[in-house]
Subunit: 275 residues, 2 copies
């Protein structure tokens, strides 16, 4: 890390919206000594429908903003940006960059003995086949399954609702039916909204199947990479709460975001990013 204060790194988390807050939530207890910046490009979400060029331009402007504000480690919590623009982001970054897809796939590789993996994601993530490509390079047989109802269900606040339980059960049944030839023993949650449905998934995956939560494994990997700082920082006094930057309504971010972060959100500032 090229931080001026290596015992207290500043970690910049970027997402197109709210989902990345589950990644931040998983990181907070694991890297207690850090300062946190979160940038949600909420005015331009969803990224899923946008071209590779556009996503790369938006993502690069976002991480430049985070670097200007002191980030010395970047977590790309946005699946679309990780799928379409990680190379461009790394080329533009002056600090280490971690993307959710690579960490998710690495964890699936570690978890799977059958080499058969199911990846669940949004329609856009699945259409990009970013997970399938990364899994294939890692020697996994992958079945991707688009689950377009899950993000709206989470955003409706229905994470614990029986309708959601039913929808998750149906999606998993369809995914396992489609993946039968690969003998899948691992399900990778390839969307940062899905950690909020972790218990619902756990109820419905067949016995012996491992659930890989990309928020969780990204947090573990970030902690490993920043590891050297943790012990030093853990002994310090508590650091300030995360600082949030959003490109759309700060009020909406606060109210919807608290569900994702699992704790109150303060310090939200509206910012304009270049087109």
């Amino acid at each position: 890390l090229n931080s001026t204060n290596p015992t207290s790194p500043t970690i910049g988390v970027f997402d197109s919206g709210f989902g990345g807050l589950t990644v931040l939530r998983a990181m907070l207890p694991r890297i207690p000594g850090a300062r946190w910046l979160y940038l949600g490009d909420t005015a331009r979400l969803p990224y899923g429908a946008k071209s590779k060029q556009t996503v790369a331009r938006y993502a690069v402007s976002a991480i430049e903003y985070l670097q200007q504000h002191g980030a010395d480690f970047l977590v790309i919590a946005c699946n679309t940006a990780s799928a379409l623009a990680l190379d461009e982001i790394r080329a533009a970054a002056r600090v280490p960059v971690l993307g959710v897809i690579e960490t998710g796939v690495a964890a699936a590789v570690a978890a799977s003995r059958s080499r058969g993996v199911i990846v669940l994601g949004t329609a856009a993530t699945v259409a990009s086949h970013a997970y399938a490509r990364a899994c294939a390079q890692a020697g996994l047989n992958t079945t991707e399954k688009a689950c377009p109802l899950l993000v709206p269900l989470v955003e409706e606040g229905w994470a614990e609702h029986e309708v959601t339980d039913q929808v998750v059960r149906i999606y998993l049944e369809e995914a396992f039916a489609a993946a039968a030839g690969n003998a899948p023993d691992t399900v990778l949650l390839g969307c940062t909204h899905y950690p909020l449905l972790r218990e619902v998934f756990a109820r419905h995956v067949p016995a012996g199947v491992t659930l890989v939560d990309s928020a969780e494994v990204t947090a573990v990997r970030a902690a490993e990479l920043i590891g050297v700082s943790i012990q030093a920082a853990a002994s310090e006094a508590p650091l300030p709460a995360p600082t949030f930057f959003v490109t759309d309504s700060t009020m909406q971010f606060q109210s919807l975001g608290e569900r994702f972060l699992g704790q109150p959100i303060a310090n939200v500032t509206h910012v304009e990013l270049p087109e």
Copy 2:
């Protein structure tokens, strides 16, 4: 109408995506003599999250495109554009313009005796309060209810699914509970995806409540306004199938769109609209 051929008007239908196809579907049998242009700004959907200025700019560029291609009557089938930009569209148009919100509200006024109306729509439409304002001007007491799961359910192809049945039942229960003070006798479907759920709604609205389908009433109103042409045109030979212009993938439009239109879609051309 300022058409060069008043017996065969060219009707331009504009929407941000697919939903407007339900309006087109309702119009086709009612205005048999017309030629049809449909423009779906699919690359820039959803409009719901965009600012009034942006929506107005997009909508004006879309209707200019339709006019350049011969439209002499414009139907704004997009709720967001009708809510945020109808004045700007009218100012820019050289032909008559019909918006889904005004026709929906006029139909609700005609249907309701209690003056209590429930309007169902997307989160963005409800947040704009465009229906509430238009209803209040017309002397109606309105309860708006956001139903964010319904568009994803329709787009998932689950219009007939038991999950959708359950979600519609829950939304209607919540809406009627919230509207109890207004004694609502009319439910206005304020989203162009909802006509595909018409039968589901019909199963769950209380007895004596009228369901107003904005696609249907927009078609009736368009036919009235163009009325003079109909009889002349009805005697002519069948005219060509609608011509479709979309700003994103033509293949995706074709496959998803046929469900909304209820018939095969051909003649889809990709177009670029100015930013």
